[in-house]
C-alpha cells in the first residue's frame, strides 16, 4: 500500500470514528428520559419561558433537523450555544478554548515526566537484569501501575505538599504548580513505559548487531545508547503516543484533585450544571484529540516502518 492510500484509509477510519462519537454524543441527549429544559428553566418557569428555551435549544424541531444543526455547530466551530441566552454567553467552543491550553500543558508535562523517568529506569533494569536493581524497578513499576490515579494524586499531595511542603499544591498558579499534577498524571504511563523499555531493551541486547558493536570494541555506553536504545525505542515511543489520550482522561481526575482549570473540570462543572451543549463539546473535543493523536502516531510509525502499512 502506498503512503497516500495508507493515509486515506487511516483518515477515513478516523473520520468514521469521530462521526460515531458525534452520533453517540447527540443520541445521549435525546434518547434518555428527562427533559433538559427542566434543568435550565428551574421549577418556577412559565410555559412561555420553557417554550423560549426549547426554541433556543432547537428541541421543537424534528430529530434529523436537530442532528444536522448539531453537526453544523461542529463544522462552524462554535460547538453550539448556551441557552437560554445565546447572545449574552460565550459559545461552547470559546468556553472550551479558554481552558484547553491548561489541559494540553498538563498532558504534555505528564508525558515528559513519563518518558524522562521511564527510559533510564527501563535501561538500567534491562542492563542489570536479574539483580536487585531490576527487581526493585519491577516492583516499583508494578505497584505504581496497580495504584489508581485517584489514590496516587492525594498521596503525592499529602507527601510533597502537606508533609514536606516542597511543591505547591492545589489552586496555586505558575509553572511550579504544574509539577505535582504532571507527576500524578504521568506516573502511570512512566511505569508502563519503564516495563516496556526493559523488555524491548532485553530483546534488542541479544541481537547480532549489538554483539558486533561490542566485538568491534565500542565503549559499552555507546553500545547501549547508540545501538541498543535507538532500536528499542520504537515500540516505547509508539505506546507513549497512543497513551496521550489516556493522559487526557487522566487529567479529568487530576484536575479535580488539584482544582486546576481545564477540560476535565469544565466537563464536570457542566455535568453538575446540566449544561448539555458544554458536556457534548468537551466529550467531543477530548474524543477528537484522542482519535487524531492515534492517527498521527500510526502514520509516523507507518512512515518509519514499512511493514506496518501492509497491515
Amino acid at each position: 500500500m502506498s503512503i497516500g492510500a495508507f493515509l486515506l484509509r487511516r483518515l477515513g477510519s478516523g473520520a468514521l470514528a469521530i462521526l460515531g462519537v458525534s452520533i453517540l454524543v447527540f443520541a445521549f441527549l435525546h434518547l434518555v428520559p428527562g427533559d433538559p429544559v427542566d434543568h435550565l428553566a428551574g421549577g418556577e418557569a412559565t410555559p412561555e419561558q420553557r417554550k423560549a428555551i426549547e426554541t433556543c435549544m432547537g428541541l421543537d424541531r424534528p430529530l434529523p433537523v436537530q442532528f444536522v444543526t448539531f453537526l453544523g455547530h461542529i463544522v462552524d466551530g462554535t460547538l453550539g450555544h448556551q441557552c437560554p441566552d445565546p447572545a449574552g454567553k460565550p459559545t461552547v467552543a470559546s468556553r472550551i478554548a479558554e481552558v484547553f491550553p491548561h489541559t494540553i500543558a498538563l498532558a504534555i508535562a505528564g508525558m515528559l515526566v513519563a518518558i524522562v523517568l521511564a527510559l533510564p529506569l527501563g535501561v538500567i533494569a534491562a542492563v542489570r537484569r536479574g539483580t536487585w536493581v531490576d527487581t526493585l524497578a519491577t516492583v516499583a513499576s508494578l505497584s505504581v501501575i496497580g495504584l489508581p490515579m485517584m489514590l496516587l494524586a492525594p498521596i503525592l499531595l499529602l507527601v510533597f505538599f502537606i508533609w514536606l511542603a516542597w511543591l505547591p499544591g492545589p489552586i496555586e498558579t505558575g509553572p511550579s504548580a504544574l509539577v505535582l499534577p504532571a507527576i500524578a498524571v504521568g506516573l502511570h504511563l512512566m511505569a508502563m513505559l519503564a516495563r516496556m523499555t526493559r523488555s524491548s531493551m532485553i530483546e534488542v541486547l541479544s541481537e547480532d548487531y549489538v554483539r558486533t558493536a561490542r566485538a568491534k570494541g565500542l565503549p559499552e555506553r555507546r553500545v547501549l545508547v547508540g545501538h541498543a536504545l535507538r532500536n528499542a525505542l520504537m515500540p516505547v515511543i509508539t505506546i507513549a503516543g497512543l497513551q496521550f489520550g489516556s493522559l487526557l482522561t487522566g487529567a479529568i481526575v487530576i484536575e479535580k484533585v488539584f482544582a486546576r482549570p481545564g477540560l476535565g473540570l469544565t466537563l464536570l462543572d457542566a455535568i453538575s450544571e446540566r449544561d448539555y451543549p458544554v458536556v457534548q463539546g468537551c466529550v467531543l473535543v477530548i474524543a477528537v484529540i484522542y482519535v487524531l493523536v492515534n492517527i498521527v502516531v500510526d502514520l509516523a510509525y507507518g512512515l518509519v516502518d514499512p511493514r506496518i502499512r501492509r497491515a
Binding site: L16, G20, G34, I162, L268, Y290
Partner: protein, 275 residues
C-alpha cells in the same frame, strides 16, 4: 495436561476471594448503618467502638468500607455478566457468519474502541440527573462488551476451521447448534481471562466515576469515600479516610490483574512472563 495456576495467579485468586467474601458477608459484619450518621460523633479517631473512626457526618468508616465492598461486588458481577454475554454473542456471530455481519459489527467495535472508554461512561452517566445503580451498570456495559467481542471473534475465526466444527456442519448441525455447542464452550478459556481482567477494570471505572461525583448517589461506595477522604487530607490523623478506600480499590484491581495474568499463562504457556 492442565498446568497449575502460577503463584502470582494464585495470590490474585486469594485476593479476589477475600474481596468476594467481604462483599457477600460485609453488610452483616458491619457494626453500624453506613447511611445514618450521628452528628455528635463526627471525626472520631479510631476506638473500640469505631475501629476506623467516623467521618464528617459521624458515619462509621469500617461500616462504609464493608457496605462499599458489597456495592462494588454487585456492580462488577452484574456488569461483567452482561458485558461478557453480549460480547461473546456478538463476537461469535461475527466470527461465524463473517462477511457483511462481521464487517458491520466490527465497525461498531472499532468506533467504540477509537476513543477513551471512561469518556463514554461519563457521557452516559452525565445524561441523568441522579444516576442510580441501573444507569451506572448501563453506562459500564455500553462499551464493556467490546473486549469480549474481540476475544470471542478471534477465537471463533480459529475454531471454525477445526475438524470437529467441520464435522458438525457436515452432519447438518444448525448455525445455532454449532455456535452454542461447539464454538462458545471452546472459547470460554480466553473469555475467562478477559472476565477476570474486566472485573478489575469495572471496579476501577466505577470508583473513578464515583470519585468524580458521577456514581450512584450513595456515600459509601469506595470511590465516593476516596473523594471525601481527599478533602480530609489537611486534617492530621484523618489521612486513612483517603488511603483505606484507595487501598481497597487497589486490592481488587491488583487481584483481578494477577488472576487474569495467571489464567492467561495457564492457557498459553508461551505468553508466560510477558508484561
Amino acid at each position: 495436561m492442565k498446568t497449575k495456576l502460577s503463584p502470582s495467579g494464585r495470590i490474585g485468586l486469594v485476593m479476589l476471594g477475600v474481596f468476594v467474601m467481604l462483599g457477600v458477608v460485609g453488610p452483616w459484619l458491619a457494626p453500624y448503618d453506613p447511611e445514618i450518621g450521628k452528628l455528635a460523633q463526627r471525626y472520631l479517631p479510631a476506638s473500640s467502638a469505631h475501629w476506623l473512626g467516623t467521618d464528617s457526618k459521624g458515619v462509621d468508616t469500617l461500616s462504609q468500607l464493608l457496605y462499599g465492598a458489597r456495592a462494588a461486588l454487585e456492580i462488577s458481577v452484574i456488569v461483567v455478566a452482561i458485558s461478557a454475554t453480549i460480547g461473546i454473542a456478538v463476537g461469535t456471530i461475527a466470527g461465524w457468519f463473517r462477511g457483511i455481519v462481521d464487517e458491520l459489527l466490527m465497525r461498531i467495535v472499532d468506533i467504540l474502541m477509537a476513543f477513551p472508554g471512561i469518556l463514554l461512561n461519563i457521557a452516559v452517566v452525565a445524561t441523568v440527573a441522579r444516576p442510580g445503580l441501573g444507569v451506572m451498570i448501563a453506562a459500564l456495559c455500553v462499551n464493556g462488551w467490546v473486549g469480549y467481542a474481540r476475544v470471542a471473534r478471534g477465537e471463533v475465526l480459529a475454531l471454525r476451521e477445526r475438524d470437529y466444527v467441520l464435522a458438525a456442519v457436515a452432519l447438518g448441525a444448525t448455525h445455532r447448534r454449532v455456535m452454542l455447542r461447539h464454538l462458545v464452550p471452546n472459547l470460554m478459556g480466553p473469555a475467562f481471562v478477559q472476565m477476570a481482567f474486566g472485573f478489575g477494570s469495572v471496579i476501577l471505572i466505577e470508583a473513578t466515576l464515583s470519585f468524580l461525583g458521577l456514581g450512584p448517589q450513595v456515600d459509601y461506595t469506595w470511590g465516593a469515600m476516596l473523594e471525601q477522604g481527599t478533602s480530609f487530607l489537611w486534617h492530621a490523623g484523618f489521612v486513612h479516610y483517603a488511603i483505606l478506600p484507595g487501598l481497597a480499590i487497589t486490592w481488587v484491581v491488583l487481584g483481578a490483574n494477577l488472576l487474569s495474568d495467571g489464567l492467561r499463562d495457564r492457557l498459553d504457556p508461551r505468553q508466560r512472563g510477558r508484561a
